[in-house]
């Protein structure tokens, strides 16, 4: 596991799904998070790296971390402080 384990407040599994479903699910989950909380999103769509960068730019959320291991992508996204 990674150094962000202690800060993860929600997990979202979008493996097997192509855009826009991971983005729609992330958007919904971010609405449920409190300000300052962090979500961990897992995806397998190769386009998800660009998609989540773009998602964070457009929504003002902070992409803390992005990794890829054996075709599986993990993103840590923080909802900004109020």
């Amino acid at each position: 596991m990674n150094t962000f384990d202690n800060t993860i407040d929600m997990d979202l599994d979008t493996r097997g799904l192509n855009c826009p479903l991971p983005i729609l699910r992330a958007k919904k989950s971010m609405n449920e998070l409190a300000h300052g909380q962090v979500i961990r999103i897992t995806a397998t769509d190769p386009g998800s790296v660009k998609d989540f960068e773009s998602f964070c730019k457009q929504t003002g959320n902070e992409l803390l971390h992005s990794t890829e291991t054996n075709g599986e992508f993990v993103f840590l996204i923080r909802k900004p402080d109020a």
Binding site: N18, C19, P20, I23, L24, K27, G47, K50, F55
Partner: protein, 197 residues
């Protein structure tokens, strides 16, 4: 011209010729002639015509649209998101209709490539339709329509509309833009699956 630029220009010209004439209808000499170079220049970048064709197919098959904007630009209702993502896709095909011709050829020639085309270009639609219908996404009340069959219907409908507008430019749809045609079809699709928001 730098090697990367030369390679890109070869791919661009080869794509146009393969789209119009198919793999067997184009020779390396014709591609070189169109580029204004000798065939030897092509062979510096691609070992054979087959390798060039494969590179063209791979490049097109792996290209994908981003639907982030479509997901974020309005409400999350099924019909709204489907319409917005379809607009993105239609714009992309209208801009580069050769993609459709190459896809059609790939479907006939190579199952592996056909799967790549599906994963990169169509799976976004089939995932969205099937999962939304299965999960009865907020605000949706679908009838007993099979989600997998519905997504196949959508895929066939959209593909045929784009063939009619972008490949054989059918006379009977000439007064409609590709976007207008597709929007009318989406309304029919929503009626067919008894979509009620």
């Amino acid at each position: 011209m730098k090697a990367a630029e030369r390679r890109a220009s070869i791919l661009a010209v080869a794509k146009i010729l393969f789209a119009d004439c198919g793999y067997h209808g184009v020779s390396v000499d014709q591609i070189a002639q169109r580029l204004g170079v000798s065939p030897a220049v092509l062979y510096q970048h691609f070992a054979s015509k087959e390798a060039l064709y494969e590179a063209v197919l791979n490049e097109i098959a792996c290209r994908r649209e981003s639907y982030v904007e479509a997901a974020l630009a309005g409400d999350d209702d099924f019909a709204g998101v489907l319409l917005r993502m379809t607009r993105v896709y239609v714009d992309s095909v209208v801009e580069d209709p050769d993609y459709l011709k190459i896809e059609m050829q790939a479907l006939l020639e190579d199952a592996r490539l056909a799967q790549q085309f599906f994963d990169a270009r169509w799976k976004s639609f089939t995932d969205f339709i099937e999962v939304s219908m299965r999960e009865q996404t907020t605000g949706i009340n679908f009838s007993q329509v099979n989600p997998r069959i519905a997504s196949l219907m959508f895929q066939g409908m959209l593909r045929e509309a784009l063939y009619a507008k972008c490949i054989y430019q059918a006379e009977q749809y000439r007064d409609l833009s590709a976007q207008d045609l597709v929007e009318q079809l989406i309304r029919l699709f929503l009626n067919a699956i008894e979509y009620r928001q």
